[in-house]
Symmetry: C2
Subunit: 216 residues, 2 copies
């Protein structure tokens, strides 16, 4: 199917390449068409890869849009994508509001009583936002077996059918064994607030290829 | 040894009882001596249990004080304990700044660029604060085998020797197998910011007896 990916960074490139490898057509969206990184990504990913503006990628998407932009930019990105292009689409929000402008450790530009997932959902009530995958490295997102043993991915969202379709993608396309439904989109706060621990764990364990498991 | 426990709630009562069961003398501190819950706890825990004010319990402690008060109250508690009674002591900070005044879900009264652990350390530079155990239920804190499989507890603190002593308590007194040193006390932000996920996981998994494991 035709899928949109917002963002030309490591996350968008990795998820986009995985979707292409599964036989889908992927358009990578950025602020302006012919973004240098997007053009390079298309050249590397063959005839099912294309690129354009955020609006182009959103219009291209039959059902699913992966938001792989920085959380701090995500609302502006959605505005560029255009409300009409987002209506009835499922926005798989992988973003984190990491703010490195004050150095390391980063803070979150939004947290505690709000989240990027909620902000997108509240701004675009006719889209279905599902927050997921933001709590691990992008290589792990599309290849969870990189991390040995049992570990988990979370989903947050208001629309049960949308969460169910995203859970299907996570399990059957990306290979996740454990998907934990946290609840409605307000639970994205908890998932986004994992990041301050994540960045410190990255230093403590010495590899980005780790992930959270809820032992019980 | 003589150990102080601040707080008369579930967490203080559970940790205090565990310490007593290991043969230590424990004084439970509260705002005023003869607090009803503290008196009851002493009656239940035998001759090695005692109670008094926060200052009494801090003075009683030879080396270790467990801070099991609400994070929102912790700085006021430390002030009541008195700077001199805290000097050179190791404060094992189990608190979380959960704020339920606006209902469920709770927010954190401090987060993102600060934490309760840091606030106590910065206010009492001659004490050694080690943040730990705040990311699981109190029954799991002192009996990690309640949760099956591998799972982890975190420590954050500036003083290596204090962290090392606390790690010894966690492993040899409480039975923890995996202790992850996150780094200095600023890493307590990450540990405290796990709570918004924790409270939602409690609903999602249906038991408080779960814990985080860092698969890698």
């Amino acid at each position: 199917m035709n899928i949109g990916v917002f963002g030309t960074g490591m996350v968008g490139g990795t998820i986009g390449a995985k979707l292409i490898s599964l036989g889908h057509n992927v358009m990578m969206g950025s602020r302006e068409a012919d973004n240098e990184k997007a053009v390079k990504w298309v050249a590397e990913n063959g005839k099912n890869a294309s690129q354009g503006t955020f609006a182009d990628a959103a219009a291209f998407a039959e059902e699913f849009i992966f938001n792989c932009t920085s959380g701090m930019a995500s609302l502006a990105v959605m505005e560029m994508a255009g409300k009409d292009n987002l209506t009835e689409k499922i926005i798989i929000d992988v973003s984190n509001p990491l703010d490195f402008t004050h150095g390391f450790p980063p803070t979150l530009s939004v947290c505690n009583d709000d989240s990027i997932g909620e902000q997108i959902q509240n701004t675009y009530p006719n889209a279905h936002v599902v927050k997921t995958l933001n709590t691990c490295n992008c290589l792990v997102m599309v290849n969870p077996s990189l991390v040995p043993g049992e570990h988990d991915v979370f989903v947050s969202g208001n629309n049960f059918s949308a969460k169910s379709k995203v859970t299907d993608i996570l399990m059957n396309w990306f290979g996740w064994k454990n998907v934990i439904d946290l609840g409605d989109i307000t639970t994205a706060r908890g998932a986004e607030m994992m990041l301050p621990l994540w960045v410190r764990l990255y230093s403590a364990v010495g590899t980005p290829n780790f992930n959270f498991h809820i032992a019980r």
